[in-house]
């Protein structure tokens, strides 16, 4: 049974003029215990907004307009704020984008993790401190460092400390929002290895938000490709890499360097994702699509189930997407 089921989540941002910008529209996915999901897409595609929406941590202008976020049978969008506080970190924790800035600069790192533990469990400070040492050890930080301040840590250490903090209350789900951006390649690899190791050890669900398809291939079981706030394609990682059907996914994969042929030029996708205040009337990807048809400019494609567990939002070509059924 799925531990987290997100159905049809839509988030709007309200502007000062009173118009609503559709940042996330109808995103659905499900997570099973111990599985991990990669959320990919360009900047501004609504990945982070969707994640913040799940935790109800959107900025004041953000509104969840529809959908359900069912965690273990409970719709998180309909529990009270104080109940929600229990779910945050206790069940679902998040490592933010640029997590190295997510530590309070004037408080000791250890104390900040203790705070997280004591907010959720009735343990005394001594026990919590012991747990902090353990957690820091898990991410490769010696326990003496617990009494240091964030500025005494390197960037990578801060990131690891945040991961340790994210695991402090033994959550079921860890949302990692670009956990490796702003880190060099060596540290990236360290962090990713760490995430993988922890996932196996603790039977975690990881939702990995990233631009990096290589990272996704390494870690994730399923992949959700987002474009302009909507799901473009959702399938297992295997299918995404080998049998992707959405032109956006295909172009993304082409834009990734090939190890076997390093001299080949990288394909880029001309243009930018659509600005939220000027979304194209039809398919969001239509202006940049290399396979656009007439219908694409008029009608937004529905999310179609191609095979079991493979969903694509693209108007079917003749012959392609055979047997696709409307989901």
């Amino acid at each position: 049974m799925a531990i987290l089921e997100v159905r049809n989540l839509s988030v709007n941002y309200l502007t000062d003029e009173g118009t609503a910008l559709r940042a996330v529209e109808g995103v659905s996915f499900s997570l099973e215990q111990g599985r991990s999901l990669g959320l990919v897409g360009e900047s501004g595609c609504g990945k982070t907004t969707a994640m913040l929406g799940i935790l109800r941590l959107l900025p004041a202008e953000g509104r969840i307009v529809s959908g359900e976020v069912v965690y273990d049978g409970v719709d998180l969008l309909h529990v009270s704020e104080s109940e929600m506080r229990e779910y945050r970190w206790g069940r679902i924790s998040i490592v933010f984008q640029g997590a190295m800035n997510a530590l309070n600069p004037v408080r000791r790192v250890g104390d900040q993790i203790v705070e997280a533990i004591m907010l959720h469990e009735s343990v005394d400070k001594r026990t919590a401190r012991g747990r902090v040492d353990e957690l820091l050890g898990m991410v490769g930080i010696t326990s003496e460092r617990a009494s240091q301040y964030p500025h005494q840590y390197s960037g990578g250490m801060r990131q690891r400390a945040m991961i340790a903090m994210a695991l402090a209350c033994t959550p079921n789900i860890l949302i990692a929002d670009e956990p490796t951006t702003a880190l060099d390649v060596m540290i990236q690899a360290q962090i990713l290895d760490l995430l993988q190791k922890l996932q196996k050890e603790l039977d975690l669900c990881i939702v990995l938000v990233t631009h990096d398809l290589g990272v996704v291939a390494e870690i994730c079981d399923d992949v959700l490709v987002m474009y302009g706030g909507k799901t473009a394609e959702y399938a297992s990682a295997d299918i995404i890499y080998n049998e992707s059907l959405h032109p956006y996914t295909q172009r993304l994969l082409e834009a990734f360097p090939d190890v076997e042929n390093p001299a080949s030029t990288l394909a880029s996708i001309p243009g930018y994702p659509p600005p939220l205040d000027a979304l194209p009337p039809g398919c969001r990807f239509e202006p940049r699509c290399h396979r656009r048809k007439d219908i694409c400019a008029v009608k937004s494609p529905p999310l179609l189930a191609v095979n079991s567990g493979h969903y694509v939002a693209c108007h079917p070509d003749k012959g392609r997407l055979n047997g696709a059924t409307n989901r």
Binding site: W89, I94, F96, A99, A102, R107, E115, Y149
Partner: protein, 310 residues
């Protein structure tokens, strides 16, 4: 704590701040040890001889006597107690109110925040001294009443300052993270935001002590001080009413000088602290023209050398 230690490290290298601090602590020292330092009990009329009234300074009475034959120096020393008590207590009150209002208005914002800020604006535009005069003359004179009035009217600037800082701090990522770990608003304000504004509040508090001391002196000078206590403002009041016509400068100048001394000390110290902790007053080290170019030892700057050749 770490932050405070760092501030101290910068502070001790600023001569202006250190001098200010020494000026303040000299007064604090005098106030604490007043009974040992004062040569006479300021309230006791030592010997009422017509010649002693407003007697000029001599060896026994270094600052002369007042119109009741009392020792001016002793009054001055005891007056430090009143002024500092009013200064510190009133400043603590206004810091407390201002910080609370600023934190709530900044973090919670919305309608509550707006209402608080309009109240702040309202109090901010009313001239303080006339309002204090009116309140004290209706309510009656008394040390604690004066402290209360000064404290209740002096918090507005601090509230604005704290709010503006909170507005920027609450957008920082660690605040979002604090929410993500399940912390409530109160905890976020007290544990995550307050420590960030604390140094700024401390600097502001030092400045506001001097404001409170001057306010108390003004009230006393205008005859609304606590009649049972001799503060510096009260001494000025007496001197102005009774001594000035007799040219008794020894009665008039010392309290005035004392007020200036402690205020200047506080302001020097407070301004230095503020420069250290207020991000808006901090400039880059290269902006100071004196440090732009380092002179190489033994080599004269070119302009100067050319000038010498002419």
């Amino acid at each position: 704590m770490q932050q405070l230690r760092e501030i101290w490290r910068t502070f001790r290298r600023r001569p202006m701040g250190i001098v200010g601090a020494l000026m303040l602590f000299s007064v604090v020292f005098v106030a604490i040890f007043a009974p040992w330092l004062a040569p006479y009990d300021p309230d006791v009329k030592i010997d009422i001889d017509p010649e002693d009234l407003l007697a000029p300074p001599d060896v026994e009475h270094l600052l002369g006597r007042d119109d009741a034959g009392k020792d001016v120096l002793s009054q001055l020393i005891y007056g430090a107690r009143v002024s500092l008590t009013v200064g510190f207590v009133a400043s603590f009150m206004s810091m407390f109110i201002g910080t609370t209002v600023g934190l709530i208005a900044g973090y919670i914002g919305g309608r509550i925040g707006n209402a608080l800020m309009r109240l702040t604006d309202f109090l901010l535009v009313i001239p303080d001294l006339p309002l204090m005069l009116v309140i004290i003359s209706i309510w009656g004179r008394g040390l604690w009443k004066i402290i209360f009035v000064i404290g209740m009217l002096g918090w507005t600037y601090n509230a604005r300052l704290v709010r503006s800082q909170v507005l920027s701090i609450r957008e920082r990522q660690f605040v979002l993270r604090a929410r993500a770990i399940g912390a409530g608003s109160l905890r976020i304000i007290l544990r995550h935001i307050f420590p960030q504004v604390l140094p700024l509040i401390l600097a502001q508090a030092v400045l506001s002590v001097s404001g409170a001391i001057i306010a108390e002196s003004s009230l006393s000078f205008l005859g609304l001080g606590d009649p049972t206590l001799v503060s510096w403002g009260m001494m000025l009041n007496f001197a102005f009413e009774r001594a000035i016509s007799r040219m008794a400068w020894w009665f008039l100048l010392p309290p005035g000088f004392a007020i200036v001394w402690v205020s200047v000390g506080l302001i020097m110290m407070g301004t230095t602290l503020e420069e250290i902790v207020n991000p808006r007053l901090r400039t880059h080290h290269l902006f100071d023209p004196r440090h732009m170019v380092a002179l190489i030892a033994g080599v004269r700057p070119r302009a100067e050398a050319e000038g010498a050749m002419e």
